[in-house]
Amino acid sequence: MSSAELTVESTRRPISGRRVRFGDLLLQVVAGTAAAGATVLVGLVAWKLVDGARPSLAKYGLPFVWHVAWNPVIGREIYGAGSFLFGTAITSLLALLIAAPLAIAIALYLTELAPRFLRGPVTALVETLAAVPSVLIGFLGILVLGPFLQKHIEPALHSALGFIPIFGSPSTSGSSIFTAIVVLAIMILPIVSSISRELFLAVPRDLKEGALALGTTRWEMVRGVMFPYARGGISAALILGLGRAVGEAIAVTQVIGGGVFIHWNIFSTGDTLGSKIAASYQGATSKLEVGSLIYLGLILLVFSLVMSVTAQVIVRRVARRQGTGHV
C-alpha cells in the first residue's frame, strides 16, 4: 500500500518543480471523487440493506441465516434463509464444477490447439455468449434446456448414478435445481474461458518453447508451464464466475421452480437467495416479509464481498510468489 502511495506521490510531483498545473489538479479531483463515490455507494447499499432488514433482524437475529422456513401467509408468517443459502451454494458450486474444465479446455484450444483461421471466429463467438442477456438464457432454459434435461439427461443420470443421492428421481416438469445449474454453467463459461485465454496468451513464448525443446509433449508443457504460470489468474477467474452464479437472479427464477426445503436431489425444485428476492419482492404483503427479503439481500451482499476479497487475496498471493505483477 505504502509503495503504491509513494509512486502516486512521485508521479504527481511536477518534474521541473513548478507548481501543480490546473489539469493535474482537475484529474486528481475528478478521479478522487469517482473513487470516493464508489466507496460511499457500497457503504450506502450496505446501510440501506441493514436498515430495510431491520424488522426481520430484530425478530430473528442471526439464526435467520440458517433457519429453513419461509411462509408469507398472514397470520402464520415465518422466515429463514437456510434453504436459499443451500440452494445458492449448490447451484453455483456445481455450475462452476461443470463450467470450469470446459472453459479452461476452450481457452487452451483457442490459444494452443486450434488452427489459426478458427481462433478469431470461435473467440468472437465465445465472447458473444458472455453478452447474451440472462433473461434470454432463462428463456432457453424454460423452452429448450428444461424439457430436454428432464426427458433425456435426468433419467439417464438417475439410472446410471442413482446410488449417489444428488441424482434422485427426475423432475416432474422441466424446472429443477439441475436446470438452474446448467443455465448458470452456460453463463459462467464465457467469463472463465475468455479470462483464461488472455492468461494463456500472456505465457511467455520462450518458456513454452523451452519446455517443448526439452522434449515435453504438448500436454506436459501445458501442465508444467502454462497452468502454473496462469494459476492465480485462473483462480480469480473462477471466483469471478462463481460470483456471477451466486448473484444471478432472473434466469434462475425462470427455471428453478421454487420451494422451501433442502433436498440433496438436484432434480427437485429449489430457490436461491437471488431468485427468491426476484420472485417475491414485488407484492410482498407485510413489513416482516419485506424485511426478510432485504435480509436475504444482505446475506447475498456479504457472500459476494467475502468472495471478492478471497479472489483478491489469491491473486495477490500468487503474484507475490511468482515475483511478477502479471496475472
Binding site: W70, P72, G258, S280, Q282
Partner: protein, 350 residues
Amino acid sequence: MPKYRSFIRRTALVGVVAVLAVTAAGTAGASRSTKSGTTLSGAGSTFVAPLVAQWVNPLGSAYGYELQYSAIGSGGGVAAVTARTVDFGASDAPLTSDQFKACNGCVQIPWALSATAIIYNLPGVKNLIKMNGPTLAKIFMGQITAWNDPAIQKLNKGVSLPSTKIAIIHRSDNSGTTYNLTDYLSSVSPAWQSQLGKGVAVNWPVGSGQRGSAGVAAAVQQTVGGIGYADVAYSLGNHLKFFAMQNRSGKYATPGLKGILAAATSDQKPTPGTNELSIVNPPKKYPLAYPISTFTYVIVPTRSPKAPDLRKFLFWAVTKGQTFGPKLLFEPIPKSVLVVAEKTIRKIQS
C-alpha cells in the same frame, strides 16, 4: 462506386427526414391530446389490464381523460400507489392490514369481477373433466399423485384417465390469482386451511413455480400431466383445457359469465371499512355458481389533487365501464357491490 455512395447518402437523408417528420407528427399529436384533458395514471394487476385497456378510448372521448395503465402486477400496483407515483393502483388480492397502514389513507373498491380457471394438460382426454374442491386440495397438497387416482376417476365415470403422474405448476411470484385459488382451497378443505392457508403466495408443499400466468400456462402446456391455474380470460385466449368445478349445490360449473355472475350475486357483502369481498365457494342456493370467482380491486388515496377527475373516472368505470367486460369474461359487478363502490368513491377528496 461514387454513384453507389451518393445513393446511400440520398437514402440516408430521406430516412432522416422521414423519421423527423414522424417524430414531429407524434409529438404534435401527443401535445394536442394532453392539452385537452387530464392524465390519470394507474398500475397493477395484469388480470384486469385487458378491461382497463378497453376503457382508454371511450374515456378519452367522454371526458377527455388520458388513461395510462401499466400492467406490472398487483404487488407492483400496491407499491406504486403507496408511493403515490400513480393516481390509482389495481390489485386482485385485497390489501393486508400492513399494506393498508403503509398506503396511509387509501380505500379499496371492488371494480371488476372474473374467475380463475384450473388448467391441465392431458393429451387424449377431453376438456372440462370434472373436479371438486376437496380432491383439488389433495392434488395441490401432493396427496393425489396420479391422474387415474380413484378420487378423480369417481368424479369422471366413463372417462378413461391415464396413469400419468400429476405435475403441479404454481406461481412463483406474488399473485392475486394465487390468492383466489388458495382462498377457495381454504374454504373447501380444512386440511388446506390449517396447513397452508390463503395468500398471494403460500408455502407450496409440491410442484414447481413459474413467473406470471404466461409462465404457468407455458409450463402446463409443456408438461404432460400438468395442472396449473390462470385467470379465465387468459386460459380461454390460449386454448387451454380446464376443469368443470363442482359447487356447493353439487352441480358442475365452468368459469364462464353465467358461472361468475351466479357466484357474485350470492349473499356476501363487502366487509365494512376494507370493502374486502370473497365470493369463493358460494352457498348451495346458487346452482350455477363457479366456485373460484373473484372481485378485483382498485386502490385510491382518499386525498388526491386529482380527486374530482378520479371520482368521475371511477364512477364511469363501475357503471358504463362494466359494459366492456363480458366479451373479456369480466361480469359486470352486481348492484349491491355497486352501491358500496359508489359510496366509497365519494370519500375521495382533494
